[in-house]
Symmetry: C2
Subunit: 503 residues, 2 copies
């Protein structure tokens, strides 16, 4: 039962999810493996009609696959657009010329723009294995990219993906460098600046390692999984949107690079700058405000670090023609009360609706960022942006605009509520000296966030507050008893999550 | 049907071979994945009784695995010593402290010995993913290791594995840096120097990318898959052996590093030195001769390259207490006639048996290397080693010793013969100007070598020979018609394999 092509095999689904790694499964005794000399773990070309990808070969011993069959990892099915029973043709991959550019960088030489473009094209097309990407990322880290190389990298990342254009100008955007739990200012900023007439077509990400991404939070308030066409209709009608960026193929190389950087725990400055700015250029942004939270458990741990990154961001943004302003902010503790998609959504709603219990820190940050954008884009006089933003929020125009955007995206939703709650209380009386962002994020994730939308935690204290013994510091919320107990186990076994000092 | 441990699953065999990558397969909806927050492609700890490994998680969607079951890649079954139906316990892996040492190197700082040891211990224990190893290898390449770091790396690689000791001294060894097709001097050198009373317990490798490793070739002449105990008995009886090194666990980190270096096509000098010398130190060698073939299609392409590598090898060997001599040799063309396990074995036999048709180049190289070892170890006067080696070969002592070693290893075998032959002939008359080592190796592999032991090719010409039009240049040999035609297709479509010039 061979396929028609001498090097063809028929696809069978095994249902193996390897995340982003394209894998092809072939019988070890397959005639093609023998003839081509394909060893296990080789990188080979898999063609399906006019589409082709490069995949890592895993051999199957025994009868999981019949003779004449092959299978793919889930991501490879998707990339090829293949269906069960289709034929794929297997062959050796062409040598990757751009690997010699990577070696050039490894040997300490500068990469010119064409070399950077060759590398990023191959990364974006999935032709690099994790090993190749790791070599590239490592060779570019430790300050080994100069300003010109950072700009070339950013341009190459833009060129490797789709690029949006908008009929109006300016097109504004905001971005927070290194997330901070609960810092969900985006819906507030979009509501304020679009209410003031600016265009802000915001694409956001889902959480990768955090308990909630803006897209996860927004999804509890309205649909976010819009096609590019649907997104354009929303922006045309309301001047802005808050959608998931996954449907739009902006800077596809970035996802591949970030996944590897995270595995090595490297934040190369050059790559951070290219990552942030390539997505903004590709999204068609002309004016950008960057939020840089600084704190001991934030990504940027010191003012010096923020300044250095800020310098590179401004330089490259300037080269690429994006007007940019930096807002260095307090990153010492979470923002608002909720951590987790639905919990953060309720903080956002409280701010937009002007409720008396709305978290003041979140409100304030939204006003500062929106004010900066209004000034930068000429919609408010210099020094007058915050006052305009504050008024638009106070008089309900931002809330109304937000409701209309939700309707345009498919209809407003109410964030879900978790069934299982348990407080973590202070074991002593004292003043809150420090809050560990990373550990709180971990607890929210153990409770089920972001997949369980209602899960996470509600924080009851901030730095400087005085608490009594037995007073709840935060409440863990989960959708299942198992996840609740799992998060509680972690919370109870770590006593430095919220540090108290004598009042 | 859960296992007894709350985080335990029962093992089922799927038969997936991922080469050296440890993979654990778990259902996506598995209670442990949810509770622990294990995402696809996460690195997790898999414990089986007292053994534990770190594996990459692949999720299974659908019913390839039942609820309560998990599976492993073939290498993970082996590492854990697990059987179908056994229980494994899954948990988060401990953070790898040594990754901060890798980052230190990425940021351009020197690694002290303890840092090098931490990294190599984790690599040897399989705690690094391919991404982590690639980052380390890249950070150490491009001349970024100084002499002290190379020595520290070599020591760390020795310490991470087993180390052999021998009751006698000296213990001699030889190694060829960068293989050359057909350069199968090892059995000849072992036979000569052990016939002269030296101890040479030789462990060799199987082919990884070449058409034959010394272990593959030797296996057509005698069993090579000996336990350490069996190897010791052979050495005790005969003074030497030629066995596969896989059963002996010398420098286990080396295999992991080499696999990644090959994928990036990097030959960091420091890693090459550490790779070669760590295995020699671990094997208990005291005196070492290194063959450095130089030629345009060899690993070392110029005399300068050989000199630079040679300097590092001598320096580090000196630090580690191994007396070493370099023999720079001609690497411009293959050695002997055969390429492929059985074909090379027949060349070796012809030399040992002193047959008139024995390839003179192979014989000469064996004599030079054996002579250097005899002098280095004090078994021949300076300048007199080659004469001694030549005599031992000529009078049959080397052949007799070789036969006895084969018997001690389990009995002498006759190399198999291929059923399918086809010559590749000269398309013009002329003189042989160049022979491409890499392309000839590729043809031998396409013909089935090294898995098909009889497959490969017999070379009929050497550089400088004059050939007539239609005279055979080499003969491809295969065990199946399919592999024969596959190798011929390649041979016929590349006309620069053997380059002729006007005579």
């Amino acid at each position: 039962m061979k396929g028609k092509h001498p090097h063809g095999l028929r696809l069978k689904r095994l249902g193996i999810d390897t995340q982003q790694e394209a894998v092809v499964y072939m019988r070890e005794d397959c005639h093609i493996c023998r003839a081509e000399g394909f060893a296990a773990h080789a990188r080979i070309r898999v063609a399906h009609g006019a589409n082709a990808i490069v995949a890592t070969l895993h051999h199957i011993k025994g009868d999981l696959l019949s003779v004449g069959d092959a299978s793919l990892s889930e991501v490879a099915w998707r990339s090829l657009g293949a269906r069960e029973g289709d034929e794929v043709v297997l062959s050796h991959m062409e040598p990757l010329e751009s690997l010699s550019d990577v070696r050039t960088k490894i040997y300490g030489h500068r990469l010119a723009s064409p070399a950077m473009a060759r590398i990023i094209d191959d990364v974006a097309a999935g032709r690099y294995s994790d090993i190749h990407i790791a070599a590239f990322v490592t060779a570019c880290s430790g300050g080994r990219l100069d300003g010109g190389e950072i700009t070339a990298l950013t341009r190459a990342m833009v060129d490797a993906g789709e690029r949006l254009t908008w009929p109006t100008s300016p097109v504004v955007d905001k971005h927070c460098v290194g997330g901070l739990p609960g810092n969900r200012t985006t819906p507030i900023v979009v509501a304020i600046v679009t209410a003031c007439g600016l265009t802000m077509p915001k694409t956001s990400s889902r959480a990768i390692t955090s308990p909630a991404g803006t897209a996860d939070t927004m999804e509890t308030l309205a649909p976010v999984d819009l096609s590019l066409q649907a997104m354009r209709r929303v922006v045309e009608r309301e001047g802005g949107c808050i959608v998931w960026g996954g449907a739009v193929h902006l800077s596809p190389a970035d996802d591949a690079l970030i996944r590897i950087e995270r595995a090595i725990d490297l934040d190369g400055e050059g790559q951070l700058v290219a990552s942030v700015l390539s997505k903004k250029v590709a999204a068609g942004s002309t004016h950008l405000v960057l939020d840089l939270p600084v704190g001991p458990t934030a990504k940027l741990r010191s003012a010096e670090e923020a300044e250095r990154i800020g310098h590179h961001l401004l330089h490259t943004a300037d080269e690429l023609g994006i007007r940019t302003r930096l807002v260095v902010s307090d990153g010492t503790q979470p923002v608002g009360r909720g951590i987790g998609p639905a919990l953060e959504a309720r903080d956002v709603l409280a701010v937009l609706e002007g409720r008396p219990n709305a978290p003041e820190d979140l409100r304030r940050r939204g006003v500062v960022l929106a004010g900066a954008l209004l000034e930068l884009a000429g919609a408010a006089p210099d020094g007058g942006g915050e006052a305009v933003a504050d008024e638009v929020l106070r008089d309900g125009r931002a809330k109304n605009k937000f409701e209309r955007i939700c309707e345009a995206q498919g209809g407003r939703r109410e964030p879900p509520t978790a069934q299982h709650h348990a407080p973590i209380a202070a074991t002593t009386t004292g003043r809150v000296r420090a809050i560990d962002n990373r550990r709180l994020a971990r607890i929210a994730k153990l409770a089920g966030a972001p997949d369980a939308k209602a899960a996470g935690l509600a924080l009851h204290v901030h730095v400087g507050d005085t608490v009594e013994r037995s007073q709840p510091l935060f409440t863990v919320q989960a959708e299942t008893p198992g996840e609740l107990s799992y998060a509680l186990d972690y919370a109870r076994s770590h006593d430095t999550i919220i540090t108290l000092e004598e009042a």
